[in-house]
Symmetry: C2
Subunit: 247 residues, 2 copies
DNA sequence: CAAGCGGGTTGACGTGGATCAAACGCCCCA
DNA sequence: TGGGGCGTTTGATCCACGTCAACCCGCTTG
């Protein structure tokens, strides 16, 4: 896997260092003081562009850095020997990818760009060193890892205990919230992943995802045009989740 | 939730401090030098006994410490409003519980003892402080968190992409490996959880778990007597996993 | 010793989602 | 401008697992 477009630190690059970055509130620096954030500028050494469908890393790649998504989006997945794929997450701007690699010094999943994207490279040795010095960074990093664990528990709940329409409703609500946090519309957005990828994430086949979308549309909950989604009745979607089994 | 049996540090307690503990290779200190481990003795302040079916913590409890299982075992679970339960993991001696609490300073799942158990209390503030000073501890803790994330991905794979018998086979193989790591028999062990809890973890109903056990027994893969399991054909179990769909 | 109970097994039956198959629409490219 | 392909939708059928129910077993309690 040849690296590509690793941008060295330059005056140019500094424009997008943490202290100047508008993703601060979504990313690793969240909650840190301005002074502490300044220290991160030296940490985030370079950026890297990844084109749609290209890998940021693959299973087995040696682990050297974690990545913060700057623009674009990714999926992470694991594969079974027989080719079955499980998408373990979708990552948007400000979110951290690569934490899976710490445990064995090698990545245990694949990270693939869903669209042309770019990431900040955070060399892990440097991160550990700096977080020994900057308490707020240390704590923030621990929160990021813990948040990932909590998120994973939510996905387990979804995969283990919910039916198809509940899963898709949960997915749409989650996407809506994440778009909102990024300043986009809560009600109208463009999904970057295919029905098959959504299905893999939700433990469903693509046909089931498609049918659930159609059902939601019939019920006036959403409007679907390909990957473009408009939520027309967010309360209705949420009701699908807190729904006591209708007696 | 009243705490119970919080044992203060005493000469008595020191006998079981990290430096003397026989769970070193399974627990937080794994891979640390003897000198560094000595420093942990001051960190792990106290222990706590939890009786079968009692909670170590509940959803919403403020987060103050993580816990290392010393003896016994636990389950962690999350609940839906309508009462549906998802078991997110089973924890055995040496394993760390409570990482979910870091992200919001409150626990996001319940931890319940499956049998009379006891845990080492690791106050989180102290852990962060010490890991700013002891590089190997810092790194080890990061590995523990990352391992949890990787484990969760495995469960997602299981819940999202495997059929019932594959899930149960994966579960049994995993239990066998963990018992082996603790010096117990790989082939014969006693499950501490009910069929319903196994089912919840695996995204199956208890009847399905029971039937899969029976099927495995019919096929000579295992011998089942209530919670006592003897694995008679581990290769056969593993084959269920790497099994290409039998065209 | 009987009664009660929680956990487990097993059977009969129902169903949600998978599978198989066909057709459509958008988009890329010649 | 017209074809070809991928992603999607939709229909018909199938089946793995859920549901409902009966019964068993080992333990506890009176």
């Amino acid at each position: 896997m040849p690296h590509q477009a690793v941008v060295p630190i330059t005056a140019e690059a500094l424009k997008t260092a943490c202290s100047q970055c508008n993703l601060q509130e979504l990313c690793l620096p969240f909650g840190m003081s301005d002074g502490d954030i300044d220290q991160l500028d030296g940490l985030v050494g370079a950026r890297r562009k990844i084109k749609r469908h290209q890998h940021l890393y693959r299973v087995g790649d040696t682990f050297e850095a974690i990545y913060a998504v700057r623009t674009g989006s990714f999926k992470t997945d694991v594969l079974l020997e027989d080719g079955r794929e499980q998408v373990t997450g979708f990552q948007m701007s400000g979110e951290i990818i690569g934490l899976d690699g710490i445990s064995t010094d090698a990545h245990t999943c694949n990270a693939v760009a869903l669209e042309d994207s770019d990431v900040c490279i955070i060399p892990f040795d440097n991160l550990e060193k700096l977080s020994r010095e900057v308490e707020s960074l240390q704590h923030q990093f621990h929160k990021v890892m813990s948040r990932e664990i909590v998120r994973d528990h939510g996905v387990m709940m979804l995969l283990g205990s919910m039916r198809a329409e509940e899963r898709l409703a949960a997915f749409l609500i989650n996407m809506s919230q994440r778009f909102t946090a990024r300043g986009f519309s809560a009600a109208e957005f463009h999904l970057r992943m295919t029905r098959e990828e959504i299905g893999s994430y939700l433990g469903l086949k693509l046909e089931t995802v498609s049918r659930a979308f159609s059902r939601f549309q019939e019920n006036g909950l959403i409007k679907v045009q390909q990957k473009h989604i408009r939520i027309q009745n967010i309360a209705g979607l949420k009701a699908l989740l807190s729904h006591l089994p209708s007696v």
